[in-house]
Assembly symmetry: D2
Homo-oligomer: 222 residues x 4
Amino acid sequence: MSSPVIIINLKAYREGFGQNAHKIAMYAEQVAHESGVTIGVAPMYMDIHPLSHHYEIPVYAQHVDGIKPGAYTGHVPAIAVREAGASGTLVNHSERRLTLAEISASMEAAKAAHLETVVCTNNVATSAAAASFSPDYIAIEPPELIGTGISVSKADPGIIEKSVAAVEAVNPDVKVLTGAGIHSGECVKTAVDLGTAGVLLASGVVKADDPLAVLRDLVSLL
Amino acid sequence: MSSPVIIINLKAYREGFGQNAHKIAMYAEQVAHESGVTIGVAPMYMDIHPLSHHYEIPVYAQHVDGIKPGAYTGHVPAIAVREAGASGTLVNHSERRLTLAEISASMEAAKAAHLETVVCTNNVATSAAAASFSPDYIAIEPPELIGTGISVSKADPGIIEKSVAAVEAVNPDVKVLTGAGIHSGECVKTAVDLGTAGVLLASGVVKADDPLAVLRDLVSLL
Amino acid sequence: MSSPVIIINLKAYREGFGQNAHKIAMYAEQVAHESGVTIGVAPMYMDIHPLSHHYEIPVYAQHVDGIKPGAYTGHVPAIAVREAGASGTLVNHSERRLTLAEISASMEAAKAAHLETVVCTNNVATSAAAASFSPDYIAIEPPELIGTGISVSKADPGIIEKSVAAVEAVNPDVKVLTGAGIHSGECVKTAVDLGTAGVLLASGVVKADDPLAVLRDLVSLL
Amino acid sequence: MSSPVIIINLKAYREGFGQNAHKIAMYAEQVAHESGVTIGVAPMYMDIHPLSHHYEIPVYAQHVDGIKPGAYTGHVPAIAVREAGASGTLVNHSERRLTLAEISASMEAAKAAHLETVVCTNNVATSAAAASFSPDYIAIEPPELIGTGISVSKADPGIIEKSVAAVEAVNPDVKVLTGAGIHSGECVKTAVDLGTAGVLLASGVVKADDPLAVLRDLVSLL
């Protein structure tokens, strides 16, 4: 069994871009080295290049458009985030929803650019649907729990177990991540015990008073 | 094996709303009676009520929002189209794409309102994904063929066969419709021979010089 | 000076579509006749045809797409709502926002179809911008007050006065309506005293225990 | 009278991001130094930081979201592009349209971040509307001419003259740029003769065989 993965979405938090992004990435790299756990970050576009080049951790785009390079303004092709240094991308985050056709196109573009893919979903049916695109990961985040500090693994473990089963039925190679409300080592342990490959979280680390301490806590029970 | 179904999307064609919608619906009813084939129409919202009450054919909304009745302006809850007389709805048409989460919500709302559901998709992967929501029908319409008069069943039969197989693997109760470019009885026959339950078409009937003749041709080889 | 106008947005409220829409429209017609005040309703698309034909009050679409009739699924051209019986339309309601280019196209389509236009805005700058399109009305609805029962004319009269002045500077023929939180005759009177031509409201009437009594109260101080 | 400005939108062109973006920016800097004309570039987000730090030319974001820093994934607050080094931003480009309320919010955020603003519009009415937000520039790009190599200043000089007049009537401090189809020094000269402050172009430079030669031609008649 492979080691769990932790992905930290820096969102557009004041504490998560520019110099603050460097701080989080540095801590993530440090705790990854201490613990052997894979810890990645998903910064804003402008921070993809500097973080990718300064730290030895996976860097994910928060979104890619399912387009080929061309006449698109304010859009981001997968190949461009790859060349900027990203090794993966979130797709269809609840704060950046895509149509079904766009998910299909984004997945195709991301795979062609050799980006690892993390498709975000909100319930069992959408998780099963997302598995049809064979992403590397599906991150389940019930919208009502995002940013609450109430871990989905505690509030509704059933949705995780059912999603793991539904995803496995469609494509057993797709790994599942637990999202929404993750904030402690206990949350991460529960997520892994429920059969998921790790967690996707944001405010729990980014807006913490002591992000380094939180990161150490997250890996403490693995 | 059940009889094939033909669904005519009236879109926002000048030839497809108001009095023109009545004409198409009247012809559809006539040919349905002559042939025993089920022929439905998907008119603009304003024509749902009159068509549902004047003709004995299935009437589909072109879209429903995945919302409960409430403070939404310019939106259409499934229960409202049901009460207006519709018996089903298109979901995620290529000219009205929805996010994955919206498809999930629309499907839930449509089922709760006892509406038949026809989810439109554009390729094999999106068809498999759509099957996760257990709609009554999945209509495959490769966007590049829509409105061309080039039938998908002729231009790319492989996409139909692969989609039928992919949908069946996810949920064998979901029927598939062939869309895009359908315009003749031969197209319909090929669609059925490829394992689909019928066709979804629009301009082939709505913009025809003689819609009644086209409708009779469509059912001629069944 | 022309008489004030009251427009009731029925939204997608359970109390505002189907038979319930008839009830509100009937009351609106009754109070319009009693008082001489113009009272219009903006029902869901499916109710445009029946309400337009049963009642002698202005009926507004909640939204029109800035398209010509054609290959658009789930869209609503201005000419189609006109033919269904509407005499006007809301444009850019806060629950159905449009891009600047879409507002331009919707306005053009609505005028070509001889629909009265009510463009909704959220602050002074967007009200001035909307005036460039020369609509019949601009309805100012600060989003934070919508559905609160706190009248904008009480909470922030300054935004109304400044918007009236800004709109007049761009085009003095454009009338302004006060929206958000309107629920009583006092609100309507204040709205008129602030220089606006009337009010746009929704829940205050639609979700009232006694809509007829509220309607009578709304016109009581005019 | 101030010197004309030339802004090159690098879009998502293969020839416009990563190392290719550096090449265009280097040429722009060179020709700006040779000619004294201000030449700016609008690269993809990931290239904002490197281009801002390597070249002494204005760098514009292609889009900013009208949000404050916070829980937004795949979004870009104005303050973040400012901190990454941009000195301005495009707003409402035809390939990234915004609602009227979003334009208002983006303008407010951009001004708060001390970014120069270039609002893109498509006709006279939208240009007048955009002037209500008091941007630094309004760039008129009739969509039907974008990417054609047919200069708007040649195809439809009337739209430019009317837009200049309409913008001036609303706010004489707002400068106008001519967009769409610009590709030569003659186009730029005509644009200036029509009363605009410069040009916004893309493929004419970015996809040229010899961008340096095109840039020199663009400034040749000023």
